[in-house]
């Protein structure tokens, strides 16, 4: 395991945040870590699954982030899947 700095934007938020995740985290966990800084804070909460998009591809929730070809400081988009 290793720390992986990423920038992430929750769609609908005003800004992009910096987070440090674990490269063993699942996409689901990465999504939650970024959503934590936006949902219920500036973006209204909803009961929908949270998804992560990396380089145009929506990741499978169980996918390990470190095995997606991601590089440090890459940007991920996080959004409610409705």
């Amino acid at each position: 395991m290793a720390l992986l700095p990423l920038s992430g934007t929750f769609l609908g938020d005003v800004t992009t945040v910096g987070v440090v995740v674990d490269d063993e985290d699942t996409a689901e966990a990465v999504g939650q870590k970024i959503a934590h800084h936006a949902v219920g804070r500036r973006v209204a909460a909803r009961t929908a699954p949270i998804r992560v998009r990396l380089g145009g591809r929506v990741l499978d929730p169980d996918e390990i982030i470190g095995r997606t070809g991601v590089s440090p400081y890459d940007h991920v988009e996080v959004f409610f899947d409705e």
Binding site: S7, G12, T15, T16, G18, V20, V43, A44, P72, E77
Partner: protein, 496 residues
């Protein structure tokens, strides 16, 4: 009075270039400090300052200005005037002192750079007065907040801010170091005096002084208008400099310098003036919106004055105009959210009445930004204040050092992709908020590459522990200094 008037002898005091006989002229004006090498030395003799002043006139004028301004300060200081000011307006004043007092003093370095390395004696003389002016502005804008310390301890940031790595300080320090402290004489003339002072601050100071008087802040109003009269004079160094540059076939370089700094000046204005005008100034004292101010004054000024010299609008003009509708609103939301990390009390400025005004001035504001404030308002009302505070940093732009808010641009319909713009230089990834910021960086990466944004510092372990507590400590804020909501959440709780 002595019988001769200034015009009789003035040229004899400025026609003082000569041909160097014992040293190389290039060594006297090293390009990294002078920047004038593109133009042949003799061409600089055409440099002619539009506004002329002698030393005698200078000291006589300035003593009058100082006497007036300091007397007013003394009179106001003994009154209860400051205590009665609107809390949002106090934030305007406190933010201004922390962000601007030290840069004004540092501008004396930029002026002295021109005073030593400017290529014409006329220019060097004019810059000598400019040097004094900026010492004045730095000193008066620290002396006044010092006088407020008993009532407003955050006036301390007038001196302290630049000793810290606060994120707002980082942004203004990076900007002003680029613009005039660590810049060559030619670029200082074009970027500080022509682009910033002529293009923005002359106008802004007029507006700000009027607003100050309107809210009853006589001290600040008189201070700002007194400064403005100096600026209007020394800002005129830009005009002859760009004229010499253009007349000698270097319009393209002049255009580059203007384009570079106009964008950066816009960024700083959006942060400081945008928030002040549209959120912090009390509603009934707002004469125009920030967008109207930029359109009526800066845009018009730019069109009239810059185009007189055959300069074009910067290539990003459409993006600039487009940003007037949304950029500073996004920055405001972030600053309010990060209010503990700034040295002033952030004024949300989104009471129902204010939201109505915002929607009127910026149609679509509710759709793009109101919904964030709905969530924030709900959290305040339900006592869920913790959720209104941040736990990590936004990603800062590697050029302007401000939070990357392309996501808000998506909401405003200006962008389709919220992702920061990227550039890789010598293996390092740099992130940018906008095409102009990336363009400025990539045109001269060696000028900027070795600097770390606040987010870089978090990611690379300079900030320890790497959490929000560590961030605030790193930024130099003691707990007592953390900014709080200026209105104590009245905008969320009352007044429907």
């Amino acid at each position: 009075m002595p019988k001769l008037s200034r015009s009789d002898w003035y040229d004899l005091a400025r026609d003082m270039n000569w041909t160097f006989g014992y040293v190389n002229e290039a060594d006297v004006f090293p390009e990294e400090l002078s920047g004038t090498g593109r133009v042949p030395p003799e061409a600089w003799l055409a440099w002619d300052e539009p506004y002329k002043i002698s030393y005698r006139e200078y000291v006589h004028n300035q003593v009058t200005k100082d006497t007036t301004t300091y007397s007013l300060k003394n009179a106001v200081g003994r009154s209860k005037l400051f205590d009665q000011l609107d809390p949002g307006w106090k934030s305007v004043v406190v933010a201004h002192y922390g962000a601007i007092a030290m840069p004004e003093y540092l501008a004396s370095f930029g002026e002295a750079r021109m005073g030593r390395f400017g290529r014409a004696a006329a220019w060097r003389n004019t810059a000598t007065f400019g040097t004094l002016d900026e010492v004045r502005h730095g000193q008066i804008q620290t002396f006044f907040p010092y006088g407020l310390l008993g009532k407003e301890p955050r006036g301390d940031w007038a001196l302290k801010a630049f000793h810290t790595n606060n994120w707002i300080t980082l942004a203004v320090r990076h900007l002003f170091d680029d613009m005039f402290v660590a810049n060559d004489a030619l670029s200082v003339a074009i970027q500080l005096t022509f682009t910033l002072e002529t293009g923005f601050t002359n106008l802004q100071f007029l507006g700000m002084a009027a607003d100050a008087i309107d809210v009853g802040d006589l001290e600040f109003g008189s201070l700002i208008s007194s400064i403005q009269t100096d600026e209007a004079r020394h800002a005129q160094q830009g005009e002859p400099t760009i004229k010499v540059l253009i007349d000698n076939g270097h319009k393209e370089y002049g255009q580059f310098l203007v384009d570079h700094m106009f964008w950066r000046a816009w960024r700083a204005f959006a942060l400081l003036t945008g928030l002040s005008m549209d959120y912090y100034t009390p509603l009934d004292s707002r004469k125009m919106s920030f967008k109207e101010f930029i359109q009526d004054w800066v845009v018009k000024q730019f069109a009239d004055q810059f185009r007189d010299y055959g300069l074009d609008f910067p290539w990003y003009w459409d993006e600039f105009i487009n940003e007037l509708d949304w950029y500073h609103h996004a920055i405001h939301t972030v600053v309010w959210n990060y209010r503990p990390s700034v040295w002033w009390n952030s004024d949300a400025g989104v009471s129902p009445k204010e939201r109505q005004w915002l929607e009127e001035k910026y149609p679509g504001w509710n759709r793009a930004f109101g919904k964030h404030w709905d969530v924030l308002t709900e959290n305040v009302r339900t006592g869920n204040l913790a959720e209104t505070f941040p736990e990590t940093l936004p990603v800062a732009c590697n050029l302007c050092q401000l939070p990357i808010v392309r996501a808000a641009g998506v909401l405003a319909g200006a962008h389709t992709d919220p992702a920061p713009l990227r550039h890789v230089h010598n293996g390092r990834v740099y992130q940018f908020c906008s095409e102009p910021c990336r363009w400025i960086f990539t045109r001269r990466p060696e000028r900027f590459a070795g600097h770390k944004s606040i987010t870089d510092r978090l990611w690379t372990g300079d900030i320890n522990p790497p959490n929000i507590g560590g961030v605030l400590a790193y930024m130099g804020l003691s707990e007592a200094e953390h900014g709080v909501d200026a209105d104590n959440y009245a905008w969320a709780n009352g007044k429907h």
